[in-house]
């Protein structure tokens, strides 16, 4: 088309439309959700792997015979500590929802408080995860059961790291440059990520810590 083709054309003027929308009207929200679809598939496959390991090990759980460590005949994972961690995960939803709502309300104080709180929870949970590995009683290279459980916990831990980094970036921006519309959208999208992290953990917790007992 040349310039002449446009002369006298009617126009569809979009100048009065907003430049930031939330949820299913926002491109970023969709991009994040499709990304989470990928990650959900990843966990789905890891769960399938867990069951495959269950099928190939006839004595469940296999006794721990790692050299240098006491032999455990029935090495079920500890439940107390992981359950406490699960509760912390669930409590962390509180600040996340508060942050999400504050971003929608454009409540700058709420946003800043919410950001700091969610990051604090995130860091606490990262530290907890580090100790959670010990409750499995196996190392990743002891057997396939150890490999798959460590991978599940590790994979989820990577998401905790990513979320912490994301939170940190937004905090930096919010405290240095202030909160604009674009970053309000970023916050609501990051909140979806956190909800997803907690939701997947509930399922993975059941599998990893109750699975050995039940399956």
């Amino acid at each position: 088309m040349t310039n002449e083709d446009f002369i006298g054309r009617k126009t569809l003027d979009v100048s009065e439309l907003p430049s930031t929308m939330f949820d299913d009207q926002a491109n970023l929200w969709w991009g994040n959700n499709w990304g989470l679809a990928i990650e959900t598939t990843v966990f789905g496959i890891l769960v399938a792997l867990y069951f495959s390991v269950r099928m190939s090990i006839s004595q469940w759980l296999p006794p721990r015979t790692t050299p240098g460590l006491p032999v455990l005949q029935n090495p079920l994972p500890d439940l107390t500590f992981p359950t406490i961690v699960l509760v912390i995960f669930l409590i962390s939803l509180g600040p996340a929802i508060y942050l999400d709502l504050s971003a929608r309300r454009k409540d700058i104080f709420g946003i800043k408080v919410g950001l700091v709180l969610t990051l604090a929870f995130n860091i606490v949970l990262l530290v907890c995860r580090y100790y959670e590995f010990d409750t499995l009683h196996f190392k990743w290279n002891d057997n396939a059961y150890g490999s798959v459980t460590w991978t599940i916990l590790g994979m989820h831990m990577i998401h905790l790291f990513v979320m912490a980094a994301e939170d940190f970036y937004i905090i930096l921006w919010a405290f240095i440059k202030g909160v604009d519309d674009k970053h309000r959208l970023d916050i609501t999208v990051a909140a979806v990520y956190w909800y997803w992290i907690v939701a997947t953990w509930v399922l993975l917790y059941l599998l990893v810590f109750w699975g050995p007992k039940i399956l």
């Binding site: 009207q25 499709w34 990928i38 396939a144 059961y145 490999s147 519309d181």
Partner: protein
């Protein structure tokens, strides 16, 4: 914005002065930065898409050279041109290249290039992510060939079955090169897919409701959804394999002795591997639909059926993977189910073929090279489909497994189903790349020679397979009687090489000296043809309002165009998912070097993981800073997207451009 508001807003008219002013602003807003940094940091989907297609064709050439070497080796019985080890490396690299580095990226590249243009927008939804995807793909591909050139290429076949590829038998770093290449290219595929889906969902031009989306765009979206659910399987599989192989990690996922399961590798690989076939084939069907419609000069027959068959193929494609594993121990019910589902997939493909035939039957043909390639596609692909039905049958498959019959089958479906349409598409869209047409006579010679060469190479392989020649043997004895047919196949390979050379010479010649093309040289119906050839960086001077399924054919002379977007910021109109009613103005980021930096870190992290697990934490720390830079530059360069028109310096008198209430 409601539909009624939309018609109210179609009121103002454009004046020449305003058009000229806005054009000048658009040109500078959407142009790349100059120099090598500008080249590395471009976010223009056309440049990235073209680079992807170009790089994929380079890998296609390398993969083709490897195929030629294999044909040389097999042309005579007892030949010792290539040793067994070299032969293993070559067939593994050939297969991996053609699947991971050519077929998937080239289809994505075409999507990245044409999807935004076909839906009437100026950019992908996440342009910086897009260039990141290209670099990770490039690094993955270079890694593979780096291995081959150092004589440490992977040698366990393109599906790298354990235990052959595991720590026990897969010596050195050979298989690690393969697994890291896979991880890097799949990251690239996942990035491209997310980008394409969101772009098509949210950035279509106003008026392009779901039932008006061009079929090629549908095919790219459906493929992208398949990628999202298929690619993670192979990414996990290859990561687990590299963890099993890495000395300091030594997990036991595929180690039978410690409760692992080697068969699980096959499940994970083929859960990706079979959908992969459709990930390659479905975009090709989109190309077929576009070319047939244009060159039959009529509306597509069975648009809805064609979309639904693509969706059906995608769904069923996830339920057939076990037919690659018919010779592993399977429960009988499983055997029956996967035989049935493998045969079921013929139904949507058949419907598709008949829709195309009906379009051709009812059309007035414009018999140019793209259409001739599509006719070749019918001949080759249908035959490949039929041998596919044969292989879906378990008793026959047990007999033919790992023979040349299988090699013949998948080359018929992949070259027939994807390469023929792809060549047609290159002839079709070449004017959009460079403003010139490819030479017709050379194109016809290319097509006919390629077809003859193809049949000479691969038809005899059916017979070779039936009389018992296994695949992946570097030589055979004269007494087997396989010599003549192998010689015939090798002669055919030479013909294919000649045909491809004609294409490359034609492409280079036409790029510089070919016939200059008009904006729409074929009289096609989709929006990219409304743009000048070659396409300016801002693509659409004004985003169009779409009035029908065949956008250009159904467009009225005075169809409205979108105005009111920022012309000093990169901004496009974002529309609702179903009806494509404008809902907001979407600002995208300009070029940045950070995606390149992040991709270098990612590449280094994956390559490092071949040697030490510490590359993972170190890589993550580096990525933390890389993404911090990305995030920061994103936020700084992107001006606050909402600014009232009065602040926009291009408008002299903003009052002129306020919408005027008038009936349309």
């Amino acid at each position: 914005m409601k539909n009624t508001d939309l018609s109210k807003k179609q009121s103002n008219t454009l004046t020449e002065a305003r058009i000229n002013e806005e054009l000048r602003a658009l040109e500078s807003t959407w142009s790349d930065k100059p120099g090598i940094i500008g080249w590395l940091s471009t976010t223009d989907h056309k440049r990235v898409g073209f680079r992807m297609v170009f790089t994929a064709f380079c890998f296609f050439t390398f993969g083709g050279i490897l195929a030629g070497l294999m044909r040389l080796q097999l042309s005579l019985p007892g030949n010792n041109f290539l040793g067994p080890d070299m032969y293993n490396q070559i067939f593994t690299t050939h297969g991996s290249t053609m699947m991971f580095l050519f077929a998937v990226p080239v289809m994505e590249g075409m999507g990245i290039y044409f999807v935004p243009l076909m839906i009437g927008t100026r950019t992908l939804a996440f342009p910086r992510l897009n260039i990141l995807g290209y670099y990770t793909y490039l690094f993955g591909g270079l890694l593979l060939f780096f291995g081959l050139l150092l004589n440490i290429g992977p040698d366990a076949g393109w599906f790298a079955y354990v235990p052959l590829s595991g720590p026990e038998y897969g010596i050195g770093k050979r298989v690690d090169l393969w697994s890291q290449m896979v991880s890097l290219t799949e990251i690239s595929a996942l990035i491209a897919s997310t980008n394409i889906i969101v772009t098509v969902m949210k950035l279509r031009a106003p008026g392009m409701s779901l039932n008006r989306i061009p079929l090629f765009v549908w095919s790219e979206v459906i493929t992208a959804v398949m990628v999202i659910f298929a690619m993670p399987a192979v990414m996990i599989a290859s990561s687990l394999l590299s963890m099993d192989r890495l000395t300091n990690v030594s997990t036991h996922f595929f180690n039978q002795a410690e409760g692992g399961d080697p068969i699980m590798w096959q499940h994970l690989f083929w859960f990706f591997g079979h959908p992969e076939v459709y990930i390659i084939f479905i975009p090709a069907t989109g190309m077929v639909s576009m070319i047939i419609t244009t060159f039959s000069r009529r509306k597509t027959f069975g648009y809805t059926a064609l979309v639904l068959t693509m969706v059906a193929t995608a769904f069923i494609g996830f339920g057939v993977w076990v037919h690659h594993m018919f010779v592993t121990p399977l429960p009988q019910l499983g055997q029956s189910i996967f035989t049935a589902s493998s045969m079921l997939i013929v139904v949507p493909n058949g419907v598709q073929i008949f829709c195309w035939l009906a379009t051709l039957w009812l059309g007035r043909w414009n018999l140019k090279t793209p259409l001739i390639f599509i006719l070749g596609f019918f001949g080759v692909f249908v035959m490949g489909g039929l041998t596919g039905v044969m292989l879906a049958s378990l008793p026959l498959d047990t007999q033919l497994h790992d023979t040349y019959f299988v090699v013949a089958h998948f080359h018929y479906v992949l070259i027939g189903g994807a390469v023929f349409p792809l060549f047609g598409a290159v002839y079709y869209w070449f004017p959009k790349f460079c403003g010139r047409l490819l030479n017709e006579a050379a194109g016809i010679a290319h097509c006919i020679l390629f077809f003859i060469g193809f049949e000479l190479v691969f038809f005899p392989m059916h017979i070779l397979g039936l009389i018992g020649m296994p695949r992946r043997v570097y030589t055979y004895l004269p007494e087997t009687g396989w010599g003549d047919l192998n010689m015939l196949a090798s002669i055919g390979a030479a013909v294919m090489v000649v045909a491809t050379l004609i294409f490359f010479i034609n492409a280079v010649y036409s790029w510089f000296w070919g016939k200059v093309a008009a904006a729409n040289p074929w009289g096609a119906d989709t929006l990219e043809w409304s743009l000048p050839s070659p396409i300016p960086q801002y693509a659409f001077q004004y985003q169009p309002v779409v009035q029908g399924r065949h956008a250009l054919w159904e467009q009225t002379a005075d169809s409205p165009v979108v105005t009111g977007l920022h012309i000093n910021n990169r901004e496009v109109v974002s529309t609702s998912i179903h009806d494509a009613v404008p809902d907001h103005r979407y600002g995208v980021q300009g070029p940045s070097i950070m995606p390149f930096v992040v991709s270098v870190i990612t590449g280094a992290m994956f390559i490092g993981f071949m040697f030490t697990p510490w590359s993972l934490p170190l890589g993550m720390i580096a990525l933390f800073f890389g993404f911090l830079g990305w995030f920061w530059s994103n936020s700084v360069e992107h001006r606050p997207p909402y600014a009232p028109l009065e602040d926009n310096p291009v408008y002299d008198d903003p009052a002129d451009y306020k919408p005027v209430e008038a009936a349309v």
